[in-house]
Amino acid sequence: MANYKMHVLVCGGTGCKTSESDMIAHNLRSALAQHGLSDEVQVVMSGCFGFCEKGPIVKVLPDNIFYVSVKPADATTIVEEHIIKGRPVQHLLYNDPVTGEKITESRKMDFYQQQYRIALRNCGFIDPENIDEAIARDAYQALGKVLTQMTPQEVIDIIKRSGLRGRGGAGFPTGLKWEIASKVPGDEKYVVCNADEGDPGAFMDRSILEGDPHSVLEAMAICGYCIGASQGLIYIRAEYPLAIERLKIAIKQAREYGLLGNNIMGTGFNFDISLCYGAGAFVCGEETALIHSMEGHRGEPTFKPPFPAEKGYKGKPTNVNNVETFANVPAIILNGAEWFASIGTEKSKGTKVFALAGKINNVGLIEVPMGTKLRTVINDIGGGIKNNKKFKAVQIGGPSGGFLTEKHLDTPIDYDSLTEAGSMMGSGGMIVMDESDCMVAMAKFYLDFTVEESCGKCAPCRIGNKRLDEILAKITEGKGTEEDLALLRNLGQVIKDTSLCMLGGSSPNPVLSTLEHFYDEYLAHVRDHRCPAGQCKALVHYYIDPEQCVGCTACARACPVNAIAGERKKPHVIDQLICIKCGTCVEKCKFNAVLVQ
């Protein structure tokens, strides 16, 4: 066996793979082979490092050098300079945006310093396609401990005491959920993993499945032992091909090792897991809809009770948990309930994974202790707003959540504080908006999503949301009235109160929370027919300030519809009838002469 002196980890998450990280690994391997170093340096495709903004990421150990924005062509340089000569490649190091200095080690970056990784403990550390690496990091130890030394009730008690709550959004206590499912009599029960991550901009669950699939498989088996199930199902959307591939490999390897299947570790406990593909409908993240979809029916929710714990998949008692919830379980069993409960706030224990996206410098995947302030996440970990613009709002919880503003920045991130502030934890999408984003348009964006994704079963959601969307469209076109604002609020409340499931029940949240926090912006749209952020096309006009324009013709040449005319070195003019308000001229102008009003 090769005795490796160095390990080179290449990010194999979906994001970095899109930027050719496969090629980087391939080039690294061939450069190493060329120099006769194949037996000395191991190249590993790992899961997501989280720092997607600067992907693809390559990390060299044990030197602990962290390379960002690596291109396939850089592979030879890394091998020849760093690996052979021991000189870190300067131009691939991360530049600290504050001090301007090069940072060699990831743990010295602001992005990683405030993070605490439990669910992501192995992401970006192990090769997810190699069960040996997972086992070396304690995978299946918790399952072994549970099967040989604990009764199901003891395990449930640990999970209850740990304070773990569902990471899918609603935050139901996981231990209690298991206990209910365990008490329902039945000789055939099911453990379901909800991997139907549907929020726009969210990729937490995908990254866990891609980076550390065994953590989820192990936890499902533990859950099976607790509730008395021998069959597990992972409901995953077909649009996650890499996660599916890695899950398949992980399940196959676990079966070969005897960690799934019959008589696991000689204890007589049987448990196996299969995959079930979803077509990517948002509503199927709702557990009753998910179960119907698994059964081959339409993905529509049904009224609860009966809860899945009593009557779930095929009418049998079923326990449904989200990917991230499961990923926490083995760590809790091994480190103890008290350890987990010591992290976080009074009612929200442990950590939460967030997918940071939007107008933020460090787009990526992060895991922070519950109770971390929004400000820390956005300014320190996220590195602040892109292009030095002003922070305007952050949207948490996807289409079901609400917008939080400047005044909420000191809100600790936990289930109850976020709900109190008018948003919700949700599954962990966090989208940041800056001053150039129009809140009415943002609310409409999310509502468009809900209208598209509504299953259409109940009237409030099917018809109500459509009407809400129409009113918003009217406002963004400058045809809205003040009465419309009252109507939005009223209708939104009715939809919330009367919808069948939480998709409808939470769909007006983006509208209601923007009405609450950005009423002025709505008023400007309906009263002055003006969009303060300059985003609503129907309400803005582009014109050139003759004082500022030097007649460089840059805008005229870039205009896709030839709406700009003027002589060289003389002020130009935009023909309002032709202008399509695309904003290209603003980008091209070096003299700030193009104004938007």
Partner: protein, 130 residues
């Protein structure tokens, strides 16, 4: 095919596999461990730095010393190659010259294990920015 038949099997397997990832675990906190840097520029390699590095990598685990062995570039002491730089936790780095396997053995036994200095230290004659 490895079949895990009992929990003990799994624990044994984990302990076996752990060494494969040790390098990565150590890399996360190098300052808590002994760090050995072997100068592996052309001059060093020509003088046998590669063999010395292999020797450290093979010997340290055998002698139960937790250390990180990495390579570095030319330190400028080409006359004294192979050179190595050893940093004990909390101490200033020390550079040794003319390190062959025998010298390496002596450094491991005396300096790494007991903190006792041995002959062959090259005094630091230059300053580095910060």
């Amino acid at each position: 095919m490895t079949k895990v038949k009992t929990l003990d099997d799994l624990i044994r397997l984990r302990d076996e596999l752990r060494t494969k990832l040790e390098l990565r675990e150590k890399g996360e906190h190098p300052e808590q461990l002994i760090q050995v840097k072997v100068a592996m520029a052309t001059c060093g390699i020509a003088s046998g730095a590669k063999e010395v590095m292999d020797y450290f990598i093979d010997e340290l685990p055998k002698r139960n010393i937790a250390a990180v062995v990495t390579q570095t570039g030319c330190m400028g002491y080409c006359y004294a190659e192979p050179t190595i730089e050893v940093t004990l936790p909390g101490k200033e780095p020390v550079v040794f010259g003319y390190v062959n396997k025998e010298k390496a053995d002596e450094i491991i036994e005396k300096y790494l294990k007991a903190g006792e200095l041995v002959d062959g230290i090259i005094p630091q004659t230059f300053k580095k920015p910060n």
